[in-house]
């Protein structure tokens, strides 16, 4: 099977970002950082039209899960593309963009925008929790 994430690698090259690959028998995976924050891209071998970009963050211990859920819900209503979810016993927050594509080449011209919205959503999430 051809590499589904080659176009994402090219998009990362376009953005001047370094990355690593971590593929296995189930999935193609890319890990990268931007301004020090970690992100990932995943595509599954048995579902080549699905691609997910995301970032995961630990919630500070001072944050109540209920408050975090409220903020996540608000962001899910308001933000384009990004899904915000609490997981791992509600101590982590995950920001993901899930897309259906014919080819990940379709992502390439929009990669900067998608990365911006992931970054902005995480920033807004933590900013609203502080308010």
């Amino acid at each position: 099977m051809s590499d589904l994430l080659t176009a994402v690698e090219q998009a990362l090259e376009d953005e001047g970002l370094l990355f690593t690959r971590d593929d296995d028998e189930d999935a193609f995976r890319i890990a990268f950082k931007s301004e020090g924050d970690r992100y990932f891209v995943v595509s599954y071998r048995d579902d080549p039209n699905f691609v997910m970009l995301g970032s995961g963050w630990a919630l500070p211990s001072s944050v109540e899960a209920e408050d975090a859920l409220d903020v996540a819900n608000l962001l899910n209503v308001r933000k384009k593309f990004v899904k915000t979810a609490l997981w791992e016993d509600e101590r982590d927050v995950l920001f993901t963009i899930e897309l259906c594509v014919e080819s990940t080449e379709e992502l390439r011209p929009h990669f900067g925008r998608l990365l911006d919205v992931l970054r902005d959503t995480a920033a807004e999430f933590f900013e609203q929790l502080r308010e």
Binding site: G16, L18, K33
Partner: protein, 155 residues
């Protein structure tokens, strides 16, 4: 590679960004590091002889139609007043401007602690400047004022 340049270059790479490092002046140990973030190329100047002084710059192209308006320098001065420490300069016959922030961090390590905050300040100032330059609202308002006055027969 000098220690200061090496420290900053490794830091930026460690944060996920490719870095292109070039010595500028072997006499002073000045170097330029180029990297890209959020679609914008930034330049960081380091100096080996004075490892506490740094400069972060980025350039914005001014659209051709907005170059001849004559008041871009004033616009940059006005926007610069809202962003302490950020300096603007027009270059290449007014076809672009450069936003620069100088930082006396003391050590390379201290500079890395505030690095992204400084990049964000330069970006914020630059973005505001280019948005102000391409915003025609001001000239439209002026035109409307003139039309309204003219209609009232004040001229």
């Amino acid at each position: 590679m000098g220690r200061v340049r090496e420290t900053i270059a490794r830091f930026i790479e460690g944060e996920g960004h490719k870095v292109d490092a070039t010595p500028v002046d072997p006499g002073t140990g000045e170097s330029e590091l180029l990297f890209r973030t959020r679609g914008q190329v930034f330049s960081v100047t380091t100096t080996e002889n004075d490892g506490g002084i740094y400069s972060i710059s980025t350039a914005y192209e001014i659209p051709e139609w907005a170059r001849e308006r004559g008041h871009n320098a004033e616009t940059l001065e006005r926007v610069g007043a809202d962003h302490a420490g950020v300096q603007f300069s027009l270059a290449h016959d007014g076809s672009l401007f450069v936003a620069t922030l100088d930082e006396s961090a003391g050590t390379p390590e201290r500079f890395t602690h505030v690095f992204w905050e400084l990049v964000a300040r330069v970006r914020e100032a630059g973005t505001q400047a280019i948005e102000t330059i391409v915003d025609r609202t001001e000239s439209r308002t002026a035109a409307e004022k003139f039309i309204n006055s003219f209609m009232r027969g004040e001229h």
